[in-house]
Amino acid sequence: MATETALRTFTLSDAEGEAWSFPTGRPSLLCFVKEDCPTCDLSMPLIEAVHRAFGTAVDVWAVGQDTAGNAVLVERHGLTVPMLDDDALAVSYAYDLDTVPSVFLADGEGRVLRSFIGFGREDWRAMVTELGALTSIEAPAIAWEAYPESRPGCGSRSVEPGIAERLAAEAEGSPLRARRIDIGSDDDVHEFLDDQGLTDGLPVVPPTPERVLRMLGVTRRDAQEIVAVVPPNMAPVTVEKVAINAVMAGCKPEYLPVVLTAVEAMCSDEFNIHGVSATTMGATPLMFVNGPIRDRIGMNSKLGALGAGNRANASIGRAIRLVLRNVGGGRPGGTERSTLGNPGKFTLSFAEWEERAPWDPYHVEHGFQPEDSVVTLFAAVGGPTLVVDQTSRTARQIGGSIGMVMEATGHPRAHGAQEVVLVLCPEHLDTLQTAGWTKDELRARIQEVTARPLRELLADEESGAGVPRERFGPDGPTEEQLDRLIPKFADPASIHIVVAGSDAGKFSAVFQGWASGPRGSQVVSRKIEEA
């Protein structure tokens, strides 16, 4: 069967290093083989016979798929036919091979005249007949009856698991544009990555092209699309670069949509990651996820939700930190100036147990649809601070305890300054539900129990922290001002309520926020478009 399809050009070397380029200007017979394939073994004597018979007029080449195996085949069959080395599998991949042997007869310009895969006695007979006609050389004597009628081939090495992704990554048209770094065989890859300052201090998964390509396989977004501009270096970050850092963090490919959206949220003006990262106060993004994607990717909202042990929770939070470090250049001692640091700077992410509560989950409360998947970022400096209350039996008491613990966030005298995330555990939630409380009723109780007269919030000899007396003029505050009650939070909406944790245990947790509002960091929720 003659077609006009031209085979891809290539140049390969044989074992002696001599280069062979296709097409040659003469008819060619290309036979792709590998050593550990019985059907290839069966075919080798025919390939050799055809070379000996027609070699003066036709370039008959075996193309072997691994260097060591090629040598074995040459030895075993006493081959004189050129054995080209496609150990890198670049040609096998370019030829889209599924099976070896794959045999192609091409004319001098590389157009396919005849081809087959596996072993077929009649295929080979027809091939020999055609070669005879093409060259006017007498066909060799072959004991055809000694050959079986047919044998299926074996899988080409280029489609073996792991190898296929590598080849796709290296092929022309690959979506990857990041600089390739070759790590020498004498180097330990983990030590190399750490020496280069590319880790958060813990080992990372080496971002090989195959892994990054698998990661990119889950998104429809172009690998070179700019996701965000990452402070402090204001570096544009592409989908590819996010994927690289997500691989390093240990993410599975299906986590990537969450990571991409979280990077966008982190780099928004409202979140102000520049300040969050730079502050001596030691702030870090706390991330929680709502919506169907939580379950689909196996995020943990229940026992041990805040860590450790769940891969999705751990690696998603870590991935955005690595983007900040590696792409944005935010490194401790550089623009990151945290006095003490914060263990949350490794990772801090979890999911809400939406179904456990009778009220709307966080994202629905903030205007999203229940079926939306949403990531929310909060700049946390402290927590989880536990609300240890195993004895309260009424909603009012639990609300009181939560408020009393919140009173201490930042400083007991710091009122109206911060926001908090309350991670409400199921047992405390159940106690609140004995009175059918809504989130707003809980917030109101917190404001009630934390309200203090100004006189208790003034800086004094006991502590220099607090409201400066001078703020009220040279005479200080009036009696009326001193009696005014000031709740802990300027706005009840500053209390962000999320349900998580196991069914057992009366321990909710409070995360303390960094400087809030437009002058600091605002809580940012973004819909995960690809969820």
Binding site: R179, I183, S185, V230
Partner: protein, 94 residues
């Protein structure tokens, strides 16, 4: 032969090295005092201004402040200071 190929996770940019402007022997013209708006930053800036008036009465001092210490100074503010001053002192606090 390389053992492993990986992809560069960084932004791959080479930062431009900038030389510091040469420091003059004497302070003349206008000095900007930039308060980053952290609590008590004004205490330091006020004292600096006093010292300038005392020791360098011929130097004009102008005060500036960032809207918030949590973010880089806005572009407009940086341009204004660059246009109006030959020198700037930026004061942290805490």
């Amino acid at each position: 032969m390389s053992a492993l190929r990986i992809l560069d996770p960084t932004d791959e940019r080479v930062p431009i090295r900038r030389e510091l402007t040469p420091r003059p022997e004497h302070i003349t013209g206008t000095v900007g005092l930039l308060d980053i708006s952290k609590p008590r930053g004004n205490v330091l800036i006020d004292r600096l201004e006093e010292l300038f008036h005392e020791r360098l009465p011929n130097v004009e001092v102008r005060r500036y402040s960032k809207p918030t210490f949590t973010k880089p100074a806005p572009e407009d503010l940086r341009r204004k200071i660059a246009e109006e001053c030959g020198f700037v002192i930026e004061a942290l606090a805490d």
